[in-house]
């Protein structure tokens, strides 16, 4: 297949956009690299090279019309629906169902899409999860309301702080501090009995589950840089949560 520089430039744009959306929303590094090289291959560029880290993508193609581009990833959040959506689009590209322009349009739409569950839903889910986890850790039914309030409010505090400040560590610390404080006040006020279990249950929504999973999966796939840095991010998050809880406990 003959390729002009213009054409390969467009393909690079599609690949980078796909990679960017995946990486920003919690896709594993190996999946991002795999998706980008696959898309390039489907559009007739077999020798694409990519280097992906949690904070940036370097993508280049070889051949007469060789080119390379860099994209910086500064915002990372969790939206697995978008990762699944890009996965789906990439599969359709591989099957030859989409042209370069169509693919770019669909990816751009996927990137702009609103989250499947708005913040209200997420706060409600955090509250419900807190109550359920309290029961799973052998807490009593009477403590469930306290855990739900603490978990929901803490999650909301973390999300609100995360929007205002770009320091993730502080948002997590604040969230777990709020969880601890509400649990403490609930037990003090007689709305709950077992402080430890209420706190453990309602701190669970803050656990960096996606980071843990991705760190392990990236390390397995041989992406040492990404795996280690995601592991470090997960440890940092765990440390922030622990510090927030410790702050409340030391008030006691």
């Amino acid at each position: 297949m003959e390729h002009s520089t213009e054409m390969s430039g467009a393909v690079i744009q599609v690949c980078l956009l796909a990679g960017k959306i995946m990486l920003e929303n919690g896709g594993e590094t190996y999946r991002v690299e795999d998706t980008m090289t696959r898309i390039a291959a489907s559009f007739g560029i077999p020798n694409a090279q990519s280097f992906v880290t949690p904070t940036g993508i370097l993508f280049g193609i070889e051949g007469p019309a060789s080119a390379a581009q860099l994209v910086r990833i500064s915002q990372r959040s969790t939206d697995l629906s978008k990762v699944a959506l890009v996965n789906e689009i990439s599969r359709r590209i591989s099957q030859g169902e989409l042209t370069v322009t169509e693919a770019y349009g669909q990816l751009a739409a996927a990137g702009r899409a609103k989250p499947v569950y708005p913040l209200v839903w997420q706060v409600a889910a955090a509250a419900i999860a807190s109550g359920c986890f309290l029961l799973m850790f052998q807490g009593r039914l009477a403590d469930v309301p306290a855990a739900m309030v603490a978990g929901g409010t803490g999650y909301y505090a973390g999300a609100a702080a995360g929007r205002m400040l770009s320091i993730k560590f502080f948002a997590e610390l604040l969230a777990s501090f709020v969880v601890g404080l509400i649990s403490y006040l609930a037990v003090r006020g007689g709305f709950g009995r077992d402080l430890d279990l209420i706190m453990i249950g309602s701190v669970m929504p803050l656990v960096p589950g996606l980071l843990i999973t991705n760190a392990v999966r990236d390390l397995m796939a041989g992406h040492l840089v990404s795996g280690m840095s995601k592991g470090a991010e997960a440890l940092l998050a765990a440390f922030a949560i622990g510090a927030g809880v410790a702050l409340v406990l030391s008030l006691d």
Partner: protein
């Protein structure tokens, strides 16, 4: 006893499905996320009830979660992380980490290190469970391709 299992079943199903919402998984996979989480947690709960070592129970549960997740991922054509993330959350040693933190606050560092090491072991068990499922999958894939060739 049956009532306790029923309570755990419901709590883990709703709890892990709620986690699916937190991770923004696609809507059509929410129920399956809950099922994967329930299976993992019930295995963990059952094994702990049989006084199996916590690390082994966690490992086996993470392994089961990852295997089911891979199956679901193929069936529903979505990234496998969608099912793994909410499934392993119940296995995360939150209680141990909390106790370790509590000991640190009380200046009882010796106990804190012990609890922390245990929490670290259980996290490692989750990781090894995930690795094992990947290994099994790769072997299965190779065997299938081998017979086809």
């Amino acid at each position: 006893m049956a009532i306790r299992y029923l309570e755990q079943l419901l709590a883990s199903f709703i709890g892990t499905a709620a986690f699916g919402v937190l991770f923004q998984v696609p809507r059509r996979t929410l129920v399956q996320c809950g099922l994967v989480g329930t299976a993992g947690w019930l295995l963990n709960f059952g094994l702990l009830g049989q006084s199996v070592d916590a690390a082994i129970a966690t490992w086996a549960s993470a392994f089961l979660v990852a295997l089911l997740a891979h199956g679901m991922a193929i069936r529903f054509k979505v990234p496998v992380t969608v099912f793994i993330v909410s499934g392993i959350i119940p296995l995360v040693p939150g209680g141990l980490a909390y106790d370790a933190m509590r000991k640190i606050v009380q200046n009882d560092y010796e106990a804190a290190v012990q609890l922390g090491a245990k929490a670290f072991m259980l996290s490692g068990a989750i990781a090894i469970g995930l690795v094992f499922s990947e290994v099994v999958l790769q072997i299965a894939k190779r065997a299938r391709h081998g017979s086809a060739a």
